[in-house]
């Protein structure tokens, strides 16, 4: 079993989001970057699968050299090898094209992504990759077992859950509940130092969307406090003042 896990490098969840250069760039100053939490789930599940059967897990990241600490972390968690495609991840389409270009010759059985990156929340890479590689794509999976070349999966659907089967190869995106993330241990960290981390140059494709500026939401007005004794008045206010019920 050959599994590819796509990983993005995102700001830590506690980050106070601010922008620089006249609101055209995310301000990375003092921001700590982590492996996208959903990608971490995908990675852990991939490791569990290859530990049960045999196989290898490769992580791929489209990013500049500053993502390498987290790529190494993925190796420390247990990935067998890593590939960094040396380009700024301009948009989902661009990232998917880079990964598809790399993956085409590699014969992966399963390609896993996270359900979305927690910075841009696009959730598009799995579907784009699936189409570019001519594979089915299954979004937001909460369970996966692979037997004799067939995966048994569960995924979230609007208002429920679906069980489905899919033959390899395919692309799937990891949803919470897929597994619990693994934390690297000392042995893993030592081993990661000597594991292969290949750097590839990007293919020539250009991004077809461009983020021109960012804006923070307007700050909320003051919170209107209601006394506990009058708690029932909330309903009236929601009806007459806020007009939401």
């Amino acid at each position: 079993m050959k599994i590819l896990v796509c990983m993005s490098n995102v700001p830590d969840t506690t980050t106070k989001v601010t922008f620089a250069e006249n609101n055209t760039k995310f301000n990375t100053q003092g921001v700590q970057f982590i492996i996208n939490p959903y990608d971490e789930l995908a990675l852990t599940r991939a490791l569990e699968i290859t530990e049960k059967q045999t196989g290898t897990v490769t992580v791929v990241n489209v990013g500049l050299a500053d993502t390498e600490p987290n790529v190494r972390k993925a190796l420390a968690i247990g990935a067998h090898e890593a590939v960094r495609i040396n380009a700024e991840p301009l948009d989902a389409y661009f990232v998917a094209e880079q990964i598809a270009h790399y993956a085409k010759g590699e014969n992966f059985d399963v390609i896993l992504t996270g359900r979305e990156s927690i910075d841009y929340n696009g959730g598009m890479v799995a579907g784009l990759l699936g189409e570019m590689l001519n594979m089915p794509s299954i979004n937001v999976i909460t369970a996966i077992e692979i037997e004799n070349g067939i995966a048994h999966l569960e995924r979230d659907i609007d208002g429920g859950r679906e069980k489905l089967d899919c033959p390899i190869p395919f692309v799937a995106s990891a949803q919470k509940e897929l597994t619990e993330p693994r934390i690297p241990n000392m042995r893993g960290i030592m081993a990661a130092r000597t594991k292969p981390l290949k750097v590839l140059e990007p293919t020539g494709s250009q991004a077809n969307t461009l983020t021109t500026s960012f804006e923070l939401p307007a700050p909320k007005g003051a919170c209107k406090l209601i006394d506990v004794a009058d708690a029932g008045k909330l309903i009236e206010l929601l009806h007459t003042e806020a007009k939401v019920i």
């Binding site: 927690i118 929340n121 579907g127 609007d158």
Partner: protein, 325 residues
């Protein structure tokens, strides 16, 4: 401008998000000398199909062959692309639901189209084509230019009004020539949480956190939600401890929602939680700690014990509903 909208149905009924998407498209068309084709995929009655005209579709196309009877991202995306190519469409609109998110990127790749998801604005076409989307789970907005001739937008549910703009739309049955060899996934079981308001589409959400002490107290939350016709949600630790199903977990690592009303009970308001709910129109925080960060993000607040406050609100909600009836 030729616009195509994916008209998503569930068990033969179009979703609210579909009507939002058609209303959205019809407004763009009206301002740009365009027209709107609603594309229905799967088994939907003629009567239901005709409903799409009510919200401004000029033309309704239905793909109802056997291969579409159960959902498949591969087949559904190909049907949308088929419609787009047949009609020379340059804008494709999908609602950012789970199904929409599966289809939209595949369609974009098939058409080499630029794609933006999480869209919350009408396009600004004065100088190119620009839309606004949420980023950082609602902590910020980004304005994005799309530079391709064909564009795909996945719009956020609950972001655009449903408008009555009736048109007499002709219904056309189309066949994309897609066979079962195009579908690799096989659905073996579908379980829906029946009778409940779907959280991602809900206008009202009652959410609770660790302050509710344990799962045995959730009947108070469910009761209030039932009375108001709201969906229920929870904070991450609550689903981590299995007090509530994971599907209710909202926040940066759960789902992002955008209801008209979000009532947070016994939730502290950690930055990761707020990320997923701060786009709600009106936020109410109920917390015994006056310093709880949620009060900074809320429009209304009650400082006190949830177990004392909930019965009072529930009674008031009951009285309000019976008065309305």
């Amino acid at each position: 401008m030729k616009i195509i909208v994916f008209a998503e149905n569930q068990d033969g009924n179009f979703k609210k998000s579909t009507f939002e998407a058609i209303s959205y498209a019809a407004q763009i068309a009206a301002n740009n000398n365009g027209n709107v084709t609603a594309v229905s995929i799967g088994n939907v009655s003629a009567e239901k199909l005709a409903e799409l005209g009510k919200y401004g579709a000029d033309h309704i196309v239905s793909y109802a062959q056997e291969v579409f009877h159960s959902f498949s991202g591969e087949a559904y995306s190909k049907a949308i692309s088929h419609a787009a190519k047949s009609l020379n469409a340059n804008l494709i609109i999908v609602s950012n639901t789970y199904s929409g998110k599966t289809i939209a990127p595949r369609t974009a790749a098939q058409l080499s189209a630029g794609i933006v998801s999480g869209v919350i604005s009408f396009p600004d076409m004065q100088n190119g084509f620009k839309v606004r989307r949420t980023v950082f789970s609602g902590k910020a907005y980004a304005d994005v230019n799309v530079n391709t001739s064909i564009k795909v937008l996945a719009i956020t549910p609950n972001s655009f009004a449903i408008l009555d703009q009736p048109k007499t739309a002709a219904i056309e049955i189309m066949d994309a020539g897609i066979g079962s060899e195009n579908v690799h996934t096989k659905s073996t079981e579908i379980a829906r949480t029946s009778g409940k308001v779907v959280l991602t589409e809900a206008e009202l959400v009652i959410s609770a956190g660790r302050g509710m002490k344990g799962p045995e107290n959730w009947h108070m939350i469910e009761n209030l939600a039932d009375i108001l016709g709201a969906a229920t949600a929870c904070s991450k630790p609550v689903s981590d401890m299995h007090w509530r199903p994971h599907s209710e977990h909202v926040g940066q690592t759960g789902i992002t929602i955008k209801p008209n009303l979000y009532i947070a009970i016994g939730i502290s308001g950690a930055i990761q939680h707020l990320a997923g709910v701060s786009s709600s129109k009106v936020i109410v925080a109920i917390n015994k700690d006056p310093e709880a960060p949620f009060f900074k993000a809320a429009d209304y607040g009650i400082v006190g014990d949830a177990f004392e406050i909930l019965p009072l609100i529930t009674e008031a909600a009951k009285a309000f509903k019976s008065q309305q009836a």
